[in-house]
C-alpha cells in the first residue's frame, strides 16, 4: 500500500471514497466540524451581541484574567497541533516509532492545556470571579468551559488512538484514523485561537 493509493481513499485495500472525492471517514469528520462551527458561532455570537450590542457594563478582560499565563497555554495548544501533524506525517511514511512518539507528545500537550485551564478556574474562583459574576462571568465560563470539554474529549480519544498505535493498528498504510482525529484536534486549536482573541485580548 503506497501513500499515494491511501490518499486516494483506498486505505486498507477498500475504496472508501465518497461523492466529494475524499475518504468517507474524513468527509464525516468535516461534516461534524461544520456543525461544530455553528455550535461555537452560537456561543461566540452571543458573547459579541451581549458585549457590544446591549450596552451592558463590561470589565476590561485583562483586568480580570491573567493574559500571560493563557498566552503560554495557547502556545502549548498550538505546539500540540504541530505534534499531531507530525504524527500524521510519520503515519503516512509508516514510521511507527515516530507516530507513537508524536502521539504521546500530543496527549501531553492537550492534558497540560486542560490542567492549566483547571488551575486558572481555581484561581479565578478564589478571586471571586464566578459564573454568576455578571454577563462576563457567565459568558466566560460557558465559552471556555465548552472549549475545555472539547479538549478533554480530544485528549481521551487521543489516548485511545495512542494505545491503538502502540498495538500497531495504524501500520501498513492504514492511517486514515490518524488524519480523522487530527482534523478534530486542529479544529479545537482553531476555535481556541478565536476564543483567546475575543474573550481574553479584546
Amino acid at each position: 500500500m503506497t501513500a499515494h493509493a491511501a490518499a486516494h481513499g483506498m486505505v486498507g485495500g477498500e475504496r472508501a471514497q465518497g461523492a466529494v472525492g475524499v475518504h468517507t471517514q474524513k468527509l464525516g469528520m468535516w461534516v461534524f466540524l461544520v456543525s461544530e462551527v455553528m455550535f461555537f458561532t452560537a456561543l461566540i455570537g452571543s458573547y459579541i451581541i451581549l458585549r457590544w450590542g446591549t450596552g451592558a457594563e463590561w470589565p476590561e478582560p485583562r483586568t480580570v484574567l491573567a493574559i500571560p499565563v493563557t498566552a503560554v497555554n495557547t502556545f502549548i495548544l498550538i505546539c500540540s497541533s504541530v505534534s499531531m501533524v507530525k504524527a500524521y506525517a510519520a503515519a503516512v511514511k509508516d514510521d511507527q516509532a515516530g507516530l507513537k512518539r508524536w502521539l504521546l507528545a500530543t496527549v501531553v500537550g492537550g492534558a497540560t492545556f486542560v490542567s492549566v485551564q483547571a488551575f486558572e478556574y481555581h484561581h479565578l474562583v478564589e478571586k471571586g470571579f464566578l459564573p454568576g459574576s455578571g454577563l462576563f462571568g457567565a459568558t466566560f465560563y460557558t465559552m471556555t468551559g465548552f472549549h475545555g470539554f472539547h479538549v478533554t474529549c480530544g485528549v481521551l480519544s487521543m489516548i485511545w488512538v495512542t494505545i491503538r498505535a502502540f498495538r500497531g493498528k495504524y501500520a501498513g498504510g492504514k492511517f486514515q484514523g490518524i488524519e480523522t482525529i487530527g482534523l478534530y484536534w486542529h479544529f479545537v486549536d482553531l476555535v481556541w485561537i478565536i476564543l483567546f482573541t475575543i474573550v481574553y485580548l479584546i
Partner: protein, 92 residues
C-alpha cells in the same frame, strides 16, 4: 487528482508563524494603541492564525474544491446568525 501529489508542507515554518503571531497579539494588547486599531489588528491576527491552521494543519489547501465548499458552507450562515440576532437586539 492533485491532492495526493502534494509534498508535506513545512510544519515547523507554520508553527513558527503561529508562535510569532501569538507574541504580536499579546504585544498589541499592551501597546495601548487606539481602541479601534487594537480591535481591528487583533481580529485580523486571529483570522490569519486560524487560516494557517485550516490551510496547512487541516490541509484544506490540498483538498478537492468540493470539500472546500462543504467546509465553507457554514461561514455565511454564521455571519447571518450573529448579524440577525444583533439587529434584533438593537431593534425598535
Amino acid at each position: 487528482m492533485e491532492t495526493a501529489e502534494h509534498k508535506a508542507p513545512n510544519y515547523i515554518a507554520v508553527w513558527a508563524a503561529l508562535a510569532v503571531l501569538t507574541v504580536v497579539e499579546v504585544a498589541v494588547v499592551y501597546l495601548h494603541l487606539p481602541r479601534r486599531l487594537t480591535v481591528v489588528s487583533l481580529v485580523f491576527l486571529a483570522l490569519w492564525k486560524a487560516m494557517l491552521v485550516a490551510l496547512y494543519f487541516m490541509h484544506l489547501r490540498f483538498e478537492p474544491k468540493r470539500l472546500l465548499y462543504v467546509v465553507l458552507a457554514p461561514l455565511p450562515l454564521a455571519v447571518i446568525l450573529v448579524v440577525g440576532v444583533m439587529h434584533g437586539f438593537r431593534g425598535p
